[in-house]
């Protein structure tokens, strides 16, 4: 059967993608940030998954105000990197896994989560920046990501967004869905976005490193407590865009310790850095024991 072996958590700041695409990653501003992902790139090579289930949010790219689904799962064969106003990122197209994605959609909807099934959408920096951070820039002679990706978009743009608790519960439903898939596949689930940041208004530029690190502690050791954090705490403590962190709870909810089946998770890597543009960057890798 298919199984989730690990979860990855990372911020997905667009400026990180721009820095990589324009070859600025060796500049002093960016060196400390990319150093924090050196371990992760090696870990990806040593633990290459068959499929990545990638939780992210669309930033007014594929979804306009004409319609914004709360939870959308991509069941397409492939997705193009989006032009977000600066031209598309020069990264490979994203190859999907329609069979597994539609299986998960069927199972998760039957577990009472109303997913929107999407067969055509471009993917923005929310999805491609985590791939760049974890996989590095693919070489020209092998211009592809290491494995298929199932995009899972969460509305964190238009309030009310789903609660942390609902995201945590959804992660558990996704784990069940994966484990009911017959093919023997090694799946990673990634939660992206955050950490503290605010992009709007006179309060723009807010960073709360203390709160962020307490969130990381809680997410690792007591995820049920992290899931109970109400929206207003994210907004007040981590900035209006810090609410993206609810997406990390989907990935965390999918880990097997949450189902009470194992003796916890193994923390393989933890990294925190301020700033990347307007944002505090956090990153974790957890493996199922």
């Amino acid at each position: 059967m298919a199984r989730i072996t690990a979860s990855v958590y990372t911020s997905h700041v667009p400026a990180i993608g721009a820095a990589l695409d324009m070859g600025k990653d060796k500049e002093p501003y960016w060196v400390p940030l990319f150093k924090g992902y050196e371990y992760s790139k090696q870990w990806m090579k040593d633990n290459k998954p068959d499929v990545i289930f990638l939780v992210y949010n669309d930033h007014a790219t594929a979804f306009s105000l004409d319609m914004i689904p709360t939870f959308a799962i991509g069941t397409a064969a492939e997705y193009q990197p989006a032009d977000e106003g600066y031209g598309a990122r020069p990264v490979p197209k994203v190859v999907g896994h329609p069979e597994l994605a539609s299986h998960i959609a069927q199972s998760v909807i039957q577990q009472d989560f109303d997913l929107t099934i999407v067969n055509k959408m471009d993917v923005d920096h929310g999805l491609t920046v985590p791939l760049s951070l974890m996989c590095g820039q693919p070489p020209a002679d092998k211009f592809e990501w290491p494995c298929p990706v199932i995009p899972f978009a969460v509305n964190v743009v238009q309030y009310p967004v789903p609660s942390g608790q609902r995201c945590f519960n959804l992660g558990q439903a996704i784990r069940k869905a994966v484990e009911s898939y017959d093919e023997d596949l090694n799946i990673h689930i990634w939660g992206t976005g955050g950490m503290s940041h605010q992009l709007q208004g006179p309060r723009a530029g807010l960073i709360n490193a203390e709160w962020d690190n307490a969130f990381l502690d809680k997410l690792i050791a007591d995820p049920a407590a992290a899931a109970a954090i109400p929206h207003i705490d994210y907004v007040r403590e981590a900035g209006s865009e810090g609410i993206e962190l609810v997406m990390w709870l989907i990935a965390r909810g999918a880990m097997s310790d949450v189902a009470g089946r194992a003796d916890g998770v193994t923390l393989k890597h933890r990294f925190f850095h301020v700033p990347a543009s307007n944002t505090a960057v956090g990153h974790l890798i957890l493996e199922n024991k």
Binding site: P14, A15, A18, Y29, H59, A60, T61, S64, L65, D66, D83, E84, G85, Y86, V157, Q158, Y159, P160, S196, Q198, L199, Q200, G201, P202, R203, A204, G205, L206, I207, N208, A209, W211, H231, I232, V235, R236, E237, S240, E241, V274, P275, S277, N278, A280
Partner: protein, 147 residues
């Protein structure tokens, strides 16, 4: 019955909720149209004429014409949509975010490098942090001169 909106007492912050979304629908969809190169060209050629093609309020149009993102937010704009205007102008997200604080680009960038804006005094309206109305705008890029 009133709705539960516990975020209204956060200073310097407009949460893009269903009510703001309703108010800002046409403004945000105008922004969305700037994702096409030919629309960016037409907009830049005659901003007023392009805006007049949209059923936006005059306040929303003035917000766009003056590039006052705080004004656009108050009129229902969402920052991820408004960012398309900044992209059309060739601005980075950091430049756009900074423009809402009164700080110059360099002042804002330096604030971020030194750890960002502190949350202290900026959790509730009425405290004494940098994002409070009485302490705004910050820095030397005082936007009130332009408005």
């Amino acid at each position: 019955m009133s709705l539960d909106k516990p975020y209204l007492d956060v200073p310097g912050t407009i949460i893009f909720d269903a009510e703001q979304s309703r108010k800002g629908y046409h403004l945000n969809q105008f922004c969305m149209s700037l994702m096409k190169a030919e629309n960016r060209t037409r907009f830049k050629a005659n901003e007023r004429a392009y805006l007049d093609e949209w059923p936006m309020t005059e306040e929303q149009k003035q917000g766009v014409l003056t590039r006052d993102l705080n004004r656009c937010m108050a009129a229902g704009g969402n920052i991820y949509f408004l960012a398309k205007i900044g992209a059309t102008d060739g601005l980075s997200f950091q430049q756009m975010a900074g423009s809402m604080t009164g700080m110059t680009e360099e002042e804002y960038r330096n604030m971020m490098i030194s750890g960002g804006r502190s949350v202290e005094g900026n959790r509730y309206i009425g405290e004494d942090g940098t994002a409070q109305a009485k302490n705004q705008p910050q820095g030397s890029g005082n936007k009130k001169d332009k408005a």
